[in-house]
Structures are given as C-alpha cells and as structure tokens.
C-alpha cells in the first residue's frame, strides 16, 4: 500500500513478506522498489480502511455493546461483565483473534485493566491478559513506541536514553511532563494502570438488550419472525419489571460471515405489548428496499430498546378516548415503521401572517398530543372562505396581459398554459412581508380572490406595490409579477 505524503510516495502499509524483505512503513516507494523490485503496489484508501474497521466493530457488537474505535487500526471493547458469557477472558480473546485471523486480518489483542494499557500491550505481543494492578510490570519492559505517543515524543525519549516504558516510569512525573507535556504523563499513567481514560463507545448503551444465539445459523423468514416475537416477549418482561415502555427499538441481525444489519423502529408512545413490537418489525421488514439478506444465516439476533419511558397505566375500559388515542398512535407507529416517520404528519399553527408559513407539518409520532390541542385561528362566521383549500408551497407565476388600473385585479390570466377569464373579483387583501427582518426584503403582496368563467376560484397576488415598490434603478415603473398561490374549493 502506498500513500502520497508531501509529494512523496511513501509506503503506507506492508505485509509480512515485505517486512521479511527488509521494507518498513514510511519508506519512499522508489527506495522500496530498489530493495525489492517485485513489489506489488496498491493505492491506500483510508476511507475503506475506516469502513472495514467499522464493519469489524459491528461484528464485535456481538461480544459487548460497548465498542469504541481507535483509528486507524484499533478497537476497544469494554468487556466488563461480558467475558463469562463466552467462557472467560482467555476464551473470549481466543474467539476474537481466531475469528479475525480466519477472515485474513492480522490481529494483536490483549486484555488489561485500562484501555491504554491493553493497547500498549497489543503493540508488541498478542494474547496477553493482565489482571488489574499488574499493568506496570506487564508494560514496563516494552519499548516506549508502544505507548502510541507522537513520533517526536518517542524520538525524544529514545534520545534521552529512556528506551522502555519502565525507564520512563522510573523518572519523576514532573520531569517527564516538563519535557514532554502533561498529556504524555497522563497517557503514561493510564498505561501503567493508574487511572483510566473512558472509551467513547460508537453507540449509546441501550436501556434493555435481549438476544438469542444459534448454534446453527438460521436463514428462513419463519424462524426469524418467531425469534423476533420471542425476543419481544423477553424484552417486554424485562421492561415490565420497571414499568417501562420502549420508544425506540433496534433489531440487529449478525450474519455468520460477520456482516451486521441493524433495523430501527421508533414509536410515538411507549410500547408495552410484545405483539405491537412484533407487528412494527414485521411492517418494517416488509417495507425494506433492500430486504434482509440472511446469506449463510444469522447466528445472533439481538433486540434492544434504545430509549424507554416510564409507562403510566391508564384505565382503558371506561375511558373510550384513551383507548381511541392509543389506537391512533399505534396506527401512526405502524405506518411510520413502514414508510418513515417523516411521512406521517400532523399540523400545527404558526404565528405568521404569511400564508405559506401559517402552518407547520410535524411528524405525527412526536407531536400528536400537541396537534390535538393546537389553537387554530377562528373563522369569521358568515364569511365565505378567506383562505384557499389548496395552497402551493411555491406560488406559481401567471401571465397577466394587462390590468385596467395599475393596481387593480387582472381581467384574464394564463396559468399552466390555460387562459382564464376573470369573472368575479374580491380584494385586494394586502399582506406585507416581514420587513423587520434583514432578509425579508420581499415585496408587499396584494391578494385577490378571483373566479374564472368556469367557476374555478383562485387566490392570486401581485408581487409589489405600484409607484412605491415596483421601480427600477432609474425610478421608472416596472411591470409587476403575478402569481397564483392557491385554489379555493
């Protein structure tokens, strides 16, 4: 692998054969070719490397929910309380390294009390397990480069004659921090097992997790559906004990070949019934554009409740409206699970006199309650509708040949290539734009309600006032633009 660095093509990564041939990372490609003419060279692709690392992290999710990336090549797994599920730390380490080896990765792994100590250990040996409190002895003999500090610091230490971590640790901390900075001292103390830097997991820890492992991979839809419903039951039982309901659910399907597919559904109100979870996932799975591909089968299916809420049990039998509201939010959840939460909307009024900004469409899952109590402007009794039933998000330009008076309504107009003769007019209703805003330099609109010869009713407006607003640079009047903004019923 080669990468371009400051106009020089340098070796970025090399395999074992190349190491034996005497190459090293950072060597210019020309020199490397001189040493080893039969070198096969590929361009480095950091993005693909990162993706691979992410894929491996996905796969590692099966061991613990707390997986953190340590780019460019490292992963941290917080296995606190997880190791016994896999037969102890030794066995877990074996499983991880063997599985990754089989897929052709060069792996170096270690288990230690702190993440930095473990990382330091992996730099020169693999398969080490260090109990808490013994990190200092374990990392002591390792060279300083294992710490993973800046190249400048490592070189500096080596020049100062401090070859191993033990040498550095033997010095007084203030000497080290005076020369190499406080960050390095912290790194060193973490490596020695004194204090720990928290890892930052890729995903937040879900509130509840249930999972099912299969000795034989499963691939049929029926078994997957059955597993999901039994997992849903387990999850609900677990949540029920603390009277919680799930607002966000995540099903992860771990394929035997390492690929992981995660499917998420969100709900408008906490879900407490396994049938509901089951149904939501069925809708979601049915509607996937790229269906779940079992490949050679899934060997682990996990269901996690990412966000939960305390559920207040309501009296259902007597209060019909509670029941109805539940039914409707369940319906909204189902539809949203299939076609997406943003496609199911409720409407809220906005305090704006500008017609296109008078209402807001928000996802129904989250705003159903707010929408049902929203205060819409009252209509004026006895008046015909003042606002059109259908409103164009973007007013459509129309052609108006002439108006009898400059700021009067048109006699005819052309919209969508059809000519409409104006028979009846009401207006104008003058709506000024938000002049107090800097970017609100839009022109004042004069709205007219007009009816054409066929009885269709339009809401049209002239953009700008004659005399005052519709003038060019020289002050000469310019013709106004007309738009149709809505259609009345």
């Amino acid at each position: 692998m080669v990468a371009k660095d400051h106009n020089a093509i340098l070796l970025h990564a090399i395999d074992e054969v190349a190491v034996r041939a005497g190459l090293s990372i950072g060597l210019p490609l020309a020199n490397a070719r001189a040493i080893c003419p039969e070198l096969t060279v590929y361009d480095a692709d950091p993005a693909a490397d990162l993706k691979t690392l992410n894929d491996i992290a996905d796969w590692c999710d099966r061991f613990t929910p707390l997986v953190a990336l340590d780019p460019p090549y490292g992963l941290f797994l917080d296995i606190t309380g997880c190791a016994h599920l896999f037969g102890g730390e030794r066995a877990l380490l074996q499983i991880v390294t063997n599985a990754l080896h089989r897929r052709g990765f060069a792996v170096s792994a270690a288990i230690a009390g702190t993440s930095i100590a473990a990382r330091t250990l992996t730099r020169y040996t693999s398969g080490q397990i260090v109990a808490s409190g013994e990190e200092a002895q374990a990392v002591g003999p390792l060279p300083v480069s294992a710490l993973g500090a800046d190249a400048a610091i490592t070189t500096g230490l080596r020049r100062a004659g401090l070859k191993t971590i033990g040498d550095v640790a033997a010095r007084a901390p203030h000497e080290i921090s005076a020369r190499f900075g406080a960050a390095f001292t912290t790194l060193l103390s973490h490596a020695l097992g004194q204090g720990d830097a928290p890892i930052s997991p890729r995903k937040p820890l879900p509130d509840y997790i249930v999972e099912k492992r299969f000795p034989e991979p499963i691939a049929t839809d029926t078994v997957i559906a059955l597993t999901l419903s039994s997992l849903a039951k387990m999850l609900v039982t677990a949540m029920d004990k603390q009277s919680k309901g799930a607002r966000q659910l995540e099903a992860s399907f771990f394929r035997t070949d390492g690929a992981v597919r995660t499917i998420m559904v969100e709900t408008g109100r906490p879900v407490t019934r396994p049938e509901m979870i089951d149904r939501l996932f069925r809708e979601r799975l049915d509607a996937l554009n790229d269906p779940l591909d079992p490949g050679f089968g899934f060997d682990l299916i996990r269901l996690a409740a990412g966000r939960t809420e305390i559920v207040v049990q309501q009296q259902r039998d007597l209060d019909a409206t509670v029941h109805d509201n539940d039914e409707i939010s369940a319906l909204i959840d189902r539809i949203a699970a299939r076609i997406g939460g943003k496609r199911v909307v409720v409407h809220l009024p906005l305090e704006s006199h500008i017609p296109e900004r008078a209402a807001l469409a928000l996802p129904a899952q989250h705003h159903l309650a707010a929408a049902s109590t929203a205060a819409w402007p009252e209509r004026v009794a006895g008046e015909p509708p003042l606002r059109p039933l259908r409103l164009f998000e973007r007013p459509e330009p129309i052609k108006v040949p002439f108006a009898s008076v400059p700021d009067g309504p048109p006699h005819q107009f052309t919209w969508r290539r059809a000519l409409h003769a104006v028979v009846r007019v009401e207006g104008p209703e003058r709506i000024a734009m938000e002049w107090w805003k800097q970017d609100g330099a839009a022109l004042t609109r004069d709205y007219f309600r007009v009816e054409d010869a066929e009885g269709q009713r339009f809401w049209i407006f002239r953009d700008g006032l004659y005399e005052s607003e519709l003038r060019d640079e020289a002050g000469a009047p310019v013709p106004a633009n007309w738009y149709v903004h809505g259609l009345f019923a």
Partner: protein
C-alpha cells in the same frame, strides 16, 4: 325467452338480492348531506362504512377536494381523519392548507396526513388506516391514472371499511372513472357563483356534483353549496336576493348584506 330461462333469471336475481341484502340491512345510520335532492336520491344520506369515490372533472381538483373534505367532515363526525396523498400531489394541486380547511368549518386538529411515495404504498396505508376503528374516515387522494386502483383494490378497501365501520373516501384527480365496488361515485366540478354584480358576489363554495353511480338507488346531478358555518351542504342560495325573499332563518347581517348588494 322461454319460461324456464325466465325462472332461472328470476332466481338469480333473487340470490343477488339476498347477497346484497345483509349489507343493506346492516347499514347503520346514513349521514345526511344537507342537500334535500341528493339526500332523497341517497335514501337519507351517505352510507358510512363503505367506499365512496369522488372524481375531479378535468385537471383541477380543488372543487373535488372541497367536496370530499365536506363529505369527510360530515361522515367522520368529530373523529380523527387520515388523509393519504402522494408526494407530487402537493406540487401538482397544491398542498392541503390547514387554514383553508378551517375556513370551511372543518377542524385541522383532527387531521393526520400521510405523504405516500407512490400509489402502492398509499393504498396499503389507506387499507391499514381503515382497519383502525378509532378513525372517522380515511381519504385516499390519487393523482392521475393508477392501474393499481382496480376492482380488487377497491373491493379490499370496501371490505376493510365494512369490517371496521370506517368510511373510505377516494379522491381521484385527472383521470376518467373506471369500474369499482364503490357505493357511490361522484364527478365534481366547480360551479359558478350566482349571477350578480361581478365585483361583490362571492359566496360560499359551490360545486356541481354529479352522482354517476349509486349502488342502491338512482343517480342525479345537483349544484351544491357548502355552508361553512353549519358544516353541511345545501341547495344553492341565489343571492344577491331581493330582501323580501330572504328566508326567515338567515341571520340579521346576511339580510343587511343582501340589501346592501342590491343597492350597490
């Protein structure tokens, strides 16, 4: 035609009548539109828990939208309403304006809008929503010809509506009617305001509604006016009217306005 064939025909007719009878008997209270002529043809009003279709005449669906919004408002009777529409319908016809809906006397708080990507997902969503008996009505708005909305699809919608008691309303724009299992089918176009002074005579929404299919009765064609305040249809009032002909139940201001118009 000989007697045996006549007998067969009669028995077939009888069995068809029997098949159709249960749905007729099970029909709950019909919802009156408020327009006397149409209500008489519909034997009391629009039947709930079935499928009704409204076709817009021509490409402009605003009159038909108003008509179906009125039907939905009448039938849903203050229960929530699900309106399923396609994404590009907004661009083609304009989005449903909540202020406009409120102006018609309907409640935007009861409306849940579903923006489906295509007809298939819209149909499926509508069928799903029809299964939820907490709703008052489900409106499916489809723009243009859609071969998915065939007899089978409309039968499915009808069955779903019958099972839950929720009324299915289908609004079709820019398409000619095709066979379906709808209880009623309407073709709606905008109607003129009544003749009068061009500068002032602007009244309640008016549509020309043509009933082209009525499974259990005759068809007809009427001009209907939507009364925004009473939230129902009515016979068109021929205003501006002479003061003397003003009906007694009209509010005081209305009389005054009518008089004013006459004078202007």
């Amino acid at each position: 035609m000989n007697g045996a064939r006549m007998g067969t025909l009669a028995s077939l007719r009888g069995s068809i009548a029997r098949i159709e009878a249960p749905s007729e008997a099970a029909m709950p209270n019909r919802v009156a539109l408020g327009h006397a002529g149409a209500d008489a043809m519909l034997r009391g009003g629009l039947a709930p828990a079935v499928l009704h279709e409204v076709f817009a005449a021509g490409h402009q669906g605003s009159a038909a939208t108003g008509f179906i919004a009125g039907l939905a408002g009448l039938i849903s009777a203050r229960k929530p309403l699900v309106w399923v529409r396609q994404d590009f319908s907004d661009r083609e016809n304009g989005a449903l304006s909540m202020r406009g809906l409120a102006e018609l006397g309907l409640d935007p708080r009861l409306l849940v809008t579903v923006r489906a990507a295509d007809v298939d997902s819209g149909l499926r969503t509508a069928a799903d929503a029809l299964a939820c008996d907490a709703l008052g009505a489900v409106v499916l708005e489809v723009w243009g010809p859609a071969r998915q909305l065939d007899l089978v699809a409309s039968r499915k919608l009808t069955l779903a509506a019958q099972a839950s008691g929720v009324t299915a309303l289908v609004l079709r724009i820019a398409v000619t009617p095709i066979p379906s299992t709808a209880e009623t089918r309407w073709i709606v176009r905008a109607a003129h305001s009544p003749p009068g002074n061009a500068a002032s005579a602007w009244g309640a929404p008016r549509v020309e509604a043509e009933l082209v299919r009525n499974r259990h009765g005759p068809v007809g064609r009427w001009i209907m006016e939507w009364k925004c305040d009473e939230c129902q249809f009515s016979e068109p009032s021929a205003y501006p009217q002479p003061v003397a002909a003003t009906p007694a139940h009209r509010p005081h201001q209305a009389q005054a306005r009518a008089g004013h118009r006459l004078a202007s």
